[in-house]
């Protein structure tokens, strides 16, 4: 495991896990990408960790009940083999296939999440990567034996930019998030996606945070909060040369890269200070404006989904304990497209259940995709098909077979709830746990500026009518935008109230004492922390 110079010079450094892939006859890398783990590693003076293991590849866990583990694996393999080719076909397309669906439903991030759809988006659809770039007929699992094998790779890419220009490299990826990070900067060039992917990995930069941070500064320039002189060059949306330059500056800690490498949360403060002193206006006033479109919560940049039309996913990002990464809850489709969770109560229930099971996957180190992105046909006969509980049963067997436990799915959810409470207490201790820390930028709730409203005015007018009892709408678009913003902000706050109640928190998002006691987490330290927050 290694962290490169970008991890040292930015706050969003990743850890690359390297392994030798015999099929491709080269070293490959998988990235632990979010939250700056690589930066922590480098700041501690650690460049890499070598793991030498004598454990066998099969049964390295020394399972207690090998037959139960084998059966669980066989059942999962059967579902994946039968169903994935007829569903998302992740084995062939990887996650790049998602771009097309996201674009269709206005969820694909364009120009710092201003828009969710673009006529240029087809240049970045999965079919482009499949036809022109991906190596075919090579199983690309993140680990030996994965039946889904959705991690793709591209060989013989000649770099056309940067310090390694002219070099032929192999790219691990791209995945959907990296594609979305590039569209978020207004760029629709698949070759650039590959090069951006390769350089970010090589430098150990998170492709998501890098793209979101650059997108934020691009919008600051577009709206006049920054000038090209502040940056040193024209960082406009779609300017590949400028993005390429800034990427290397971030990695090296040079030029404007020293600012951009600090991420969106600190970037907002930098821009506000600069603008306020130049124009003699209060810093807080500018900061409040930048907070509307600076896409971060709890200091982490958003992953690559436009949540304007999915209240449930707004909560999925806002309540996520690590910040707006979708691995705690990805509810956009069942909310916005399928309309399976229409009431606030249903959204809140989903915002309790999905983070629990997803946190369990994270805690055990298991991949979620074979469960959540390959629908088991048996799920159709269950009360809530989106939970795909027939496949979850295989994972419960796998856990019990491996450890010798006799847990039910509910036991696993309870274990996870205990873990989440512990994480919540850590957030509280670090000053990121109360209600204010769950507030998301206005851009995540709906259109912030007229250009966004205008791009879907018919839709937004219809939404307003539907949510205003079909009463007469204000005459001007600006008034309608303001009305919509008020309604969206109110809905988010209402969602907070219901979700906190379901989770056993106070309205200020502080765990209640009875909740802590229920999960055996109340000790003196916890009690003192709760005292501090008035609970």
């Amino acid at each position: 495991m290694v962290a490169g110079e970008g991890a040292l010079n930015s706050r969003f450094g990743i850890i690359n896990s390297l392994f030798f892939d015999r099929r491709r006859n080269r070293i490959r890398a998988k990235q632990a990408g979010r939250g700056g783990t690589g930066t922590v590693m480098r700041k501690k003076g650690l460049r890499g960790i070598v793991v030498k293991s004598s454990l066998p590849k099969a049964n390295g866990n020394n399972a207690i009940d090998k037959e139960l583990v084998r059966q669980a694996g066989a059942k999962l393999k059967d579902v994946i083999t039968r169903c994935d080719p007829a569903q998302l076909n992740l084995e062939a397309w990887g996650t790049t296939g998602l771009s097309e669906y996201m674009n269709k439903f206005h969820i694909f991030p364009i120009n710092n999440y201003q828009y969710g759809q673009s006529p240029e988006a087809p240049k970045l659809f999965g079919s482009v990567f499949l036809d022109k770039y991906f190596s075919k007929k090579l199983p690309d699992g993140c680990y030996y034996g994965c039946n889904l094998a959705c991690a793709k790779g591209v060989e013989n890419v000649v770099l056309t930019r940067g310090p390694m220009k002219g070099t032929t490299v192999s790219v691990d990826g791209p995945e959907y998030e990296t594609v979305g990070a590039v569209s978020n900067m207004g760029i629709f060039d698949p070759q650039f996606v590959l090069e951006y992917n390769w350089y970010c990995d090589e430098y150990s930069l998170d492709t998501i945070s890098t793209g979101v941070t650059i997108g934020f500064f691009m919008e600051c320039l577009e709206r006049g909060f920054l000038s090209a002189d502040d940056i040193g060059y024209d960082l406009s949306f779609g300017n590949i040369n400028a993005v390429d330059r800034l990427l290397h500056e971030i990695a090296r800690g040079e030029g404007f890269g020293r600012v951009a490498g600090q991420g969106v949360a600190r970037g907002k403060k930098w821009v506000a200070d600069k603008y306020a002193s130049r124009n003699n206006v209060p810093v807080d006033e500018i900061l409040a404006e930048l907070n509307k479109f600076g896409m971060e919560v709890k200091g982490l940049e958003f992953s690559m989904y436009v949540t304007k039309e999915s209240l449930a996913q707004q909560g999925g990002y806002g309540f996520a304990l690590k910040g707006p990464q979708h691995d705690e809850a990805w509810l956009i489709f069942i909310d916005q497209v399928h309309k399976e969770i229409t009431s606030l109560e249903q959204k809140a229930s989903a915002l309790k259940w999905f983070p629990l099971i997803r946190t369990w996957f994270n805690a055990t180190g298991l991949c979620k995709l074979p469960w959540i992105d390959v629908r088991n046909p048996e799920a159709a006969g269950t009360p809530e098909p989106a939970k795909n509980t027939p496949t979850l049963a295989y994972y419960v067997d796998y856990l019990n077979g491996t450890t010798g436990s006799r847990k039910s799915l509910q036991d696993i959810l309870d274990d996870s709830e205990r873990l989440q409470l512990l994480q919540k207490m850590i957030n509280l201790r670090q000053g990121k746990g109360a209600r204010a820390s769950d507030l998301i930028p206005l851009r995540a709730m709906g259109p912030v500026y007229l250009n966004e409203y205008q791009s879907r005015s018919e839709y937004y007018d219809g939404w307003l009518k539907e949510n205003s009892g079909n009463s007469q709408l204000p005459e001007s678009m600006e008034q309608r935008l303001n009305l919509l913003i008020k309604k969206r902000e109110k809905a988010y706050q209402r969602l907070c109230d219901i979700v906190y109640d379901k989770k056993g928190y106070t309205p200020q998002a502080i765990p209640k004492r009875e909740t802590m006691i229920k999960f055996g987490l109340m000790d003196e330290q916890a009690s003192q922390l709760l005292d501090k927050f008035g609970e």
């Binding site: 062939a92 669906y101 497209v337 309309k339 992105d373 046909p377």
Partner: protein, 81 residues
Amino acid sequence: MVVLIELFGMQREIAKIGKVKMPITEKTLVRDALEYVRNRYPALTLDEASILTTVNHELSPLDRPLKANDTICILPHIGGG
């Protein structure tokens, strides 16, 4: 009377077409639209347990009657990574 059937991703690639127009009667259901696509593009696997259908961007059961100019989307289940 016609409706528009939209295909995406892998299904679009297999069918080599993204939009299909289909003539309907007053008795045509969403299920019939699936059958129509299956017949025209036999290589497409449109297993009902593996797909979702929306009509005019709203999730729709297979027994929903279609109206002129409806848009039917055939989608896979997407649960997020």
